[in-house]
Each structure stands twice: as C-alpha cells, then as structure tokens.
C-alpha cells in the first residue's frame, strides 16, 4: 500500500463500486441478466458476511504458519505452472513417437461381416444337435434368414462391426469364435449369451494399430498429460536444487 494512503481501520469495511460490479457480474453469469434491487442487496450482504469471517480469521492469525494455508499456496503455484505448461504444443514428430511408444493403447480390434442362425435352448431340447444337423445340409448360397429360431432383435446379417460390438450384442467370447471361423463357409455350432449359433463369416478385417490420423486427439491429450507430469517433476528438481537441505534426526548414531 502506498505510504500516504491511510489504512482503513480494522472495523471499517468498504464495498467499492468495483467490488459491487464484480458481484453483479457473478449474478449475470447464472441468470444472464442483471440483479433486481432486492437481489443486489442480498448479493452485497452475502459478500459482507464472507468479508467479516475472512477478517476475523486473519485477526486470529489463521493465515500464518498454517499447514493448510501452505498447502493452498502450493496448489496455487501449481495452477500457475499448469497454465504455463498448457501453452506447449506437440510437434508432428512428438505425436508419432508417442503413438508408436504406446501402440498398445491404440489397437483396434478386428471387424466382421457375418450371418448367423440361432438355435434357442428355451425352445429346443437339443439345440447343439439340431444345429449340427442343419449344418450338414446347408448350402453355401443359403443366407439362412428363415432357418433356425427367431432372435427378433438381433439382425441375422451384421456388417462392418467391431469385435467390441459383437461381444456386446452376443456376449463374451463370441467374437473370438468368429475370428477362428472359416471365411465363406457355414460353421459351428458356437455358443453365445443367447444359445447356439451356426455362423458364416463373409469378410473379416484383422485388427492392428489405428493410424495416427484416426486417434490424433487421444494421442495429443495423452501426450499433454505426460508432458505436464514430466514438467512438474523437472521443475521441482530444479527448484529443490536451489536450496541447501538438512534433515535433522533424533536417531542414535550406530557405532
């Protein structure tokens, strides 16, 4: 504070025009309109309450030598650093290197085009045997639409679907069976969460590493997170090096 400015006495609280304007702005953020006179009064009263508590807390010395204040200041400093670190952007090379180094995160599973015929264990006593019996007679061109039992909310022909999606529709393990099936032939029976199926996989694309172009946003996000964490560590080490650190101990020195 400038020397010639008289410090207000501890008992005096001044709500400046600027402060009141700030309170009104807060209100507008919620309501997108200025407060009415009554509302404005309530805002100012709420602010005064906060100010009174704050001053009492300071008077009680709660801001000095307090673990919690210290921690709060550490957090504030970290926020500052975070704001700065947010300005660093990855280069194309950065992203490519990260993408390769963490390839396991960016795998995409296989995709399938297949038909299936369903044999319901709720309707039949021997769905497996029935499936095998039909398999023996099925010709390749048969699309299977009217064969087997109805599964009304699952398509008999499903195209361009991921492994994940297959598992969600049919249950765990079904996609693995599709991976092992002979392309272009009816095969089975295989088990799903519903019952027994014959399947004909008409096309299959194996999985692999998703090209960077497809997962760019995720890679960039992950890169930034790793960068931030590395930056904090590096900064801390640099700052720590400025200090001479002594850790005292009560331990008795061994002979």
């Amino acid at each position: 504070m400038p020397a010639d400015d008289p410090a207000p006495s501890r008992a005096e609280i001044v709500v400046t025009v600027a402060r009141a304007a700030q309170l009104e702005k807060r209100f507008e953020k919620t309501w997108n309109r200025p407060p009415s006179p009554t509302e404005r009064e309530q805002l100012i009263e709420a602010h005064l309450r906060e100010e009174v508590f704050y001053r009492e807390a300071v008077a009680a010395g709660l801001d000095k030598d307090d673990d919690l204040v210290r921690r709060r200041m550490q957090k504030k400093f970290e926020f500052l650093i975070e704001d700065i670190s947010g300005l660093t952007s990855p280069t194309e090379d950065d992203l490519r290197a990260f993408h390769e180094a963490h390839a396991d995160r960016y795998r995409i599973g296989a995709r399938f085009w297949f038909r299936h015929i369903f044999f319901s264990p709720s309707i039949r006593k021997t769905p497996q045997a029935d499936a095998r019996a039909l398999l023996a007679t099925l010709k390749r061109e048969n699309d299977g639409v009217q064969e087997g039992d109805a599964l009304r909310m699952v398509e008999p022909a499903i195209g361009d679907v991921s492994q994940d999606k297959v598992e969600r529709i049919f249950g765990k393990g079904f996609a693995a069976d599709l991976l092992g099936a002979q392309v272009g032939e009816w095969s089975g029976p295989i088990q799903s969460g519903f019952g027994v199926h014959l399947v004909r996989v008409d096309d299959r694309k194996s999985g692999g590493l998703a090209p960077l172009a497809d997962v760019r946003a995720a890679v960039e996000d992950a890169w930034r997170r790793e960068r931030r964490s590395q930056m904090f560590d590096a900064l801390y080490r640099r700052l720590r090096a400025k200090y001479t650190i002594t850790v005292e101990s009560n331990a008795v020195e061994s002979e």
Binding site: L23, T30, A46, E50, Y54, S122, A150, M153, E155
Partner: protein, 647 residues
C-alpha cells in the same frame, strides 16, 4: 409418424424388394421374407419400408446420473476420482477405485452424464486441500479434520454436510458460489472432461449437473442434461438451490432452463428422481409451497422441461409401493419408505401416492383432465446416482453408492448414511439402474432427442432389449414376424408416444418384444401395466401378463405362477435352465373404454439371480441376517403409451 406414399402398386413394390433380397445385404434391420412382408403390409398399403428407414434400430445404454469427487458430499464420503476417471471407466477401461481396488465394467456403456451437484461444485476439492477460508469457520475446520481421518469419520462428515445443507444450515463461509473463480474452474473441469471423451458414433459424454433441491430434507432433485457442447454450456453457470443466486423451487429451475435456451439457442432438459424420499411432494396435486391448485401453465411448463423420470436407482425402486399396489406381487422391490432424504421426517402412508411413478402417472391423468394438459407425462429411465465415479450396476460388480460402500467385508452392515441415530442400511442399497434409449445413432443429438421423445426404458441394471408399440392394427402375425420393429413403427407408435382417439369399434393392441441380456439371465415374463382414472379422478390400475416362458398357464384371475428359481445362494450362482431367451406378444386390451384416459407400459422380469449382498457373502464368507434379500428379479420398465379420448 408420417409416411410418404410412393403410389406404386403393391406387387411391384414387393417384386423390387424380393429382387434386392437375394443379394446379401448388411443393414441395420433384418431382411424380411416375402411372406413376412405381405403379412406386415396388407395390400392396401403401398409404400416401401426401406425407403428412408426413419426409426431407431439400436438401443444405447447409459447412466444419466453419476457423481465424482467434484460433488460436495462424494469427496467427503471418500471419492477421489474425477469426471475424467468416470468417463474412462464408463468406456470400459480398468481404473483403480477410490479405495484402491481394480474395477472394470463387464462391457462399456454407450453414454454417460457426469452430474455433479451444482451447489458448491468443487467444494470438496477445496475442503480437502484445506482452503483457508473454510478453516476459518469452526464447522469447516471440524469437517476438515473428520475428512482427513477418513473411514467412518468421513462418512459422518458427509452425512452432516448433506443434513446441514438440506436444513438450510450450511455455513455461509463454506459456500462455493457461481461466479467465483473456484466455481468457474469446477464447471470448466466438468465441461472439459465431457468434451474430451465425447466421441460421436462410439461414446456419448453429455454435459450435465444435478440441481439438488432438498428443502427440509425433502428430495426434489433434478439432473439437468444439455444437448449442447461446451461452447453453449459454458455461457451460463449451473443453477444452484441457495438464494439469492439459486432456489430450491422447481418452478425457478424451469425459469433458468428457459433462460438457457433463449440466451444460447441450445436445448436442455431436467430429470427428477427419488420421489420415495420426497415425503409426498414429487407428484403433488396442489402446489406444496403455496397450497394452491395448479394451473394449465404449470402443467405445460413441467411437462415441457421434464420428459423423463429416473424411477429406479441405488436409493430404491420407484415404480410403485406395495401399499399402493396390493395386488401386484412384484410391487415390493427395493422399497425405501422410511422417510425423507435425511430422515428428519418419517414417512406416513398419505405421502405414498405422490411419490411413485405409477401413481404419479395416474395423478397426471387426473390433472390432465382438470387442466387440459398432463404435468406428469414422463417416460422412464434408470440411473445409478453413484458417488464413486463408477457407474456399476451388475450384482456381481457393485461398487456402492459412495466410496464408504465400495466392496469390503463390512460394507453391508455399515450405514449408507446416518442422521441423528436413524440410518439407511448399507445392505438396502440397490445395484441399479440404467437407461435404455432407442436412438438412430450414438451421438449427443440423437440420444438427447430420443430422451425428449421418451423412446426410453429403465432397467434395474441389466441390459435386456425391449420394444413396446401401441396401435389399432396389430395382429397375431406381427408377433410371429422376425422383424417386429417394422410392423411396430408402420402400424403403431413406440414407447413414449400417444395413441390417437379410438374410432368406433376400435380397441388398442400392443406389440411387446423382449430379449434377454446376453451377459445375464433368461426372462420370466412380460406384463402390461395399465393405469387410468375415473370421472372423479380416482386412480385405478390393472396388470396383465402378456408373454411368459414355457411351462406355465395363466390362472382364471389373470395371475401367472412364479417362474421358480435356480439360484444357489451359498455359491452365488444361477443357471439359465428356466425362463426364455426372448418373449413376444401382441395383446389387445380386453377392458378398453374409449372415453377414459389411460396409460400402458411394459414391465419385463428376469428369472431370479443372486443379489449383490449374496455375492458379498460368498466373497467374504459372511452370514447375513434374514432381513437381507438373497435374490432378485431384475426388471425393465418402458416409457408409457398414453391414450387420450377425443373431446
């Protein structure tokens, strides 16, 4: 839904379809046979069902109501995971829970709403960090110490925080107010997490929050869900419940929603939950604040902003109460009826009809007849309301309401919450629920629009597929069809819709189809629940069993014997040797009165499976008291189809 007439002779249309039929086509819908088509589309209709397939062909499952450490109470309960972790988990990745346990969903969810409390958003992160203005207040200091101690002390602190907030006694010094830096950064964190995880076509992350009206402990909470992205959502800060910036009155929330839409051009809706903890004011027939009768404007406003109701979740199932529905053998399910949210006032029977979905829908019909508009015309969804940031609903994978209830040998007996000696038992938590949405694509716009249109259903945690259509032209053959949705949309309207007034001699019929959850249990039955009011406004209901697994016959009184149980309680297992993989029926209302307003919704039940407490007993070698149920029948509840007579 309007259909364009193509003016082509039927035979030509069928011929075209048959010729395209022979090539293998991978569409979103099964390819019907020529015979099937003939049956679905009688000769007089001459348009192609394949031109501009205009209806949803997929169900997307999600949780519309999840809390993270950003919520003021979640953090105190022990949550350390934020919105980012919540989305990772919902997308199917493994995370470490707040209690250090590895957790993963059986399969990813399709969408998620992280809906942290708008009041004091970010409060807990400030409390935990020891914000100095918090510690200047004696209550703040005490809560800080209790939270640092953790465990039961943390749970106690959380209960106090909730209780003081509902009683309006939350210390002013501790409020995190909209407009403040802390609040703004909390809201920005929420938005940022949703934006970074939202992947159109694969996973939808909605921006949202919970407006937690809890005056005098009576629950009137609403979750607010934005159709929009961060640009619009960040224009206004969320609405809170504390004056002067907020209010606990839903009418004020609706004003704020209107303000949001008019100022930003965005779209937004609100979903209420836990009528069972409102102590009689969730579906009131007079204004609970003024005691005055409602007017048409109230009905229009409420029904406009609240198209759905979250009717099943961890804090109880809200379909109906055994007192209200004594003839419904499935009514007493996850019944929470001790009192309001903080147990400051205990329940009386008079309150019940104003608290539950079924009676709420009936009261809506009554008020609709009086006011000309039905204020309680809501579709149904389920959600968790979990405060662990983990949206778990599987009985064998339940991480509790809050981090004090994450898996452990004592979690069944610890109170979920305790207020002045009264408690909600840990074992009474329900591993529920989910929202199933029939939408055209997995995007914010498509799913939000479907929610607004009420083409949704609630489940108690499983993922059965359910279709429910109403119309005047359904036939038995439609049940035989392998493509029921084609007939459903062509000849009727889907769940959440309205039947046109019946013409002379017409009686509504309904097409209901259900498919079991492929990761779960077989189905027991499909029921249609019909509700109506008479001229004096008195409420009536009737339940019809319309489809069930083989081996049982309907009794003379319409009841169906129980499906039985394969549950081995000791080993926490069951087998799918009873029940059905899928069920389908066309059902005509045998008691139809064309002059009476009514609603119909489908309720689907699974065969019995072990309850989460049974899995805990096995895992930890526990012997639980008799009052703890050992099994449950998971269920789905569709949005209703309403019938309104002509004037």
């Amino acid at each position: 839904m309007t259909r364009r007439m193509y003016g082509m002779p039927t035979a030509l249309v069928l011929g075209l379809l048959v010729s395209t039929f022979c090539t293998v086509s991978y569409g979103q819908d099964p390819v019907p046979s020529k015979e099937g088509l003939k049956r679905a589309f009688p000769a007089r209709k001459n348009y192609s069902p394949y031109a501009g397939r205009n209806y949803p062909t997929q169900v997307f499952f999600g949780d519309t109501h999840l809390h993270t450490a950003m919520s003021m109470d979640a953090g105190a309960f022990g949550a350390r995971l934020g919105p980012d972790d919540a989305y990772q988990f919902a997308r199917g990745l493994e995370v470490i829970s707040s209690t250090g346990q590895r957790a993963r969903l059986s399969r990813p969810l399709d969408f998620l709403v992280v809906a942290d409390h708008s009041d004091n958003m970010g409060f807990f992160t400030r409390l935990f960090a020891g914000d100095p203005s918090f510690l200047a207040d004696p209550t703040g200091r005490r809560w800080y110490d209790m939270v640092q101690k953790g465990g039961n002390e943390g749970v106690k602190a959380a209960s106090e925080i909730i209780a003081s907030f509902s009683a309006g006694k939350f210390p002013k010094a501790l409020e995190s107010m909209p407009g403040s830096q802390a609040y703004r950064s909390a809201w920005e964190t929420t938005i940022k997490a949703a934006e970074s995880h939202n992947t159109p076509g694969k996973f939808t992350a909605f921006i949202g929050y919970e407006w937690t009206s809890n005056k005098a402990g009576n629950n009137l909470h609403r979750v607010v869900i934005y159709r929009d992205g961060g640009h619009k959502a960040s224009m206004l800060e969320p609405y809170t419940t504390l004056p002067p910036l907020g209010s606990p009155n839903p009418r004020d929330l609706w004003k704020w929603l209107a303000r949001y839409e008019s100022k930003t051009g965005g779209r937004i809706l609100a979903i209420a939950h836990n009528g069972n903890l409102s102590n009689g004011i969730m579906f009131p027939v007079v204004d609970p604040v003024t005691g005055k009768a409602f007017d048409r404007a109230y009905a229009e406003t409420r029904s406009r902003w609240e198209p759905l109701y979250e009717m099943t979740q961890i804090k109880g199932d809200g379909e109906t109460h055994p007192f209200l529905s004594p003839n419904d053998e499935f009514a007493d399910f996850d019944t929470w009826d001790q009192g309001n949210l903080d147990l400051s006032v205990l329940k009386t029977k008079k309150m019940l009809e104003f608290e539950y979905a079924r009676s709420g829908l009936q009261l809506g019909l009554r008020l609709g007849n009086q006011l000309g508009v039905n204020p309680f015309k809501f579709g149904m969804i389920g959600a968790t309301d979990s405060h662990t940031a983990l949206a778990t609903t599987g009985e064998d994978n339940f991480f509790g309401k809050h981090s004090g209830g994450e898996p452990g040998p004592k979690r069944w007996e610890h109170p979920m919450a305790e207020f002045n000696g009264k408690r909600y038992e840990g074992w009474s938590m329900a591993a529920a629920g989910l929202a199933g949405v029939w939408a055209k694509d997995n995007t914010r716009e498509a799913i939000w629009d479907a929610m607004k249109a009420k083409e949704t259903y609630a489940t108690t945690g499983s993922r059965m597929l359910v279709r429910f259509f109403g119309g005047y032209d359904f036939r038995e053959d439609d049940a035989k069809s392998r493509t029921p949705a084609t007939a459903g949309y062509a000849k009727g309207i889907a769940m959440g819709g309205d039947l046109s007034p019946a013409k002379e001699g017409q009686v509504p019929s309904f097409l209901a189809v259900a498919l079991k959850d492929p990761y779960g249990a077989n189905l027991d039955r499909i029921q249609v629940v019909k509700g109506w009011v008479d001229a004096s406004g008195k409420r009536f209901e009737k339940i019809y069993n319309v489809a069930w697994s083989a081996g049982r016959k309907l009794e003379a009184n319409g009841k169906l014997p129980a499906v039985g149980s394969t549950v081995d309680v000791k080993n926490a297992t069951w087998t799918n040797t009873i029940g059905a993989v899928e069920l389908v029926a066309v059902w005509k209302d045998p008691d139809f009165d064309p002059k009476v307003s009514a609603f119909y919704y489908a309720r689907v039940l699974e065969i019995p499976t072990p309850r989460w407490t049974t899995y805990d007993a096995k895992q930890y070698g526990l012997t639980l008291p008799k009052e703890v149920p050992t099994t449950l029948q998971e269920r789905a509840y569709t949005s209703p189809i309403w019938y309104t007579p002509s004037k």
